[in-house]
């Protein structure tokens, strides 16, 4: 645990203690000082504690550890270590093209105004399925909608290696079509090996040597 949650816990504990004091001694509010205390304890401090907690939980929910904490996601986590350059998530993860501690979220959020919140809402649905519904097999898990090139181009757009790659100039309109999502990077047949969890049993895996996160 880093220091942030400790500070937040301490702050929330102080807020809770003051709220408890106000709840147990409401007669304090008969005087001016008590009124100020009640307003701080029952309005200002809980708001701040809640806001800080929301920020902390939202930030934490973007971590790779968080995403892989559901059992059904284990194979997807394993696929990040496949020793095969054709596996797009593996090559991004192993070469730190995405932050390794936020690997899932980096590619699976929508880079739109409310993309993060849409991703969170879907995540809440996933938790309900995990504990109350029928959990699908890993290979049955599909994206809600086809993967949008926008998520790839969030990083790759303007990148020299991307723009100059000979494979991206097989036809003159290729980059333009990719930019407008008319030609999918993934289902277009170029980078179509993604997690491929159904075939993991036949794969070989890379083992990080020290200093790995």
């Amino acid at each position: 645990m880093n220091n942030t949650p400790l500070l937040l816990i301490l702050f929330a504990a102080i807020a809770a203690a003051l709220a408890l004091l106000t709840a147990l001694r409401p007669e304090l509010t008969r005087v001016r000082g008590g009124k100020i205390l009640a307003f701080m304890a029952l309005c200002i401090l809980p708001t701040l504690a809640m806001w800080a907690g929301v920020n902390e939980h939202l930030e934490r929910s973007t971590s790779t550890k968080f995403c892989l904490s559901c059992h059904v996601m284990a194979d997807f986590g394993k696929s990040l270590y496949v020793d095969d350059k054709s596996y797009i998530p593996a090559v991004h993860f192993q070469n730190h093209f995405v932050p390794t501690d936020h690997a899932c979220f980096t590619c699976h959020t929508d880079y739109t105004l409310f993309g993060d919140y849409k991703a969170k809402w879907r995540g809440v649905h996933h938790v309900l399925v995990e504990y109350l519904g029928t959990i699908p097999k890993p290979e049955e898990i599909k994206l809600y909608t086809a993967y949008n090139n926008r998520e790839c181009l969030h990083c790759h757009a303007g990148m020299r290696k991307y723009e100059e790659a000979s494979s991206h100039h097989k036809n003159p309109e290729m980059l333009a079509k990719a930019a407008t999502n008319q030609l999918s990077c993934i289902s277009g047949g170029c980078h179509d090996t993604v997690h491929d969890v159904a075939n993991l049993k036949d794969a070989t895996f890379w083992t990080p040597k020290g200093n790995g996160k």
Partner: protein, 63 residues
Amino acid sequence: MTATLERRIRWSGLLIVVGLLLQILTLPLTHPLAFVGFALLGCPLVAAGMLFFLYSLVSHDTP
């Protein structure tokens, strides 16, 4: 009237305490259940306590 106000303050304080305690329990954990517990239990309890406190203030007639 003062007794009613104080009773409402007591209830709003207790709601906030329970909500904050739930939040404190979820904060050390990095797990989807902790997130859901925080967002669907802790936050609504705290918000309900705060709103009840504000309601008790505006609905209170000063003598």
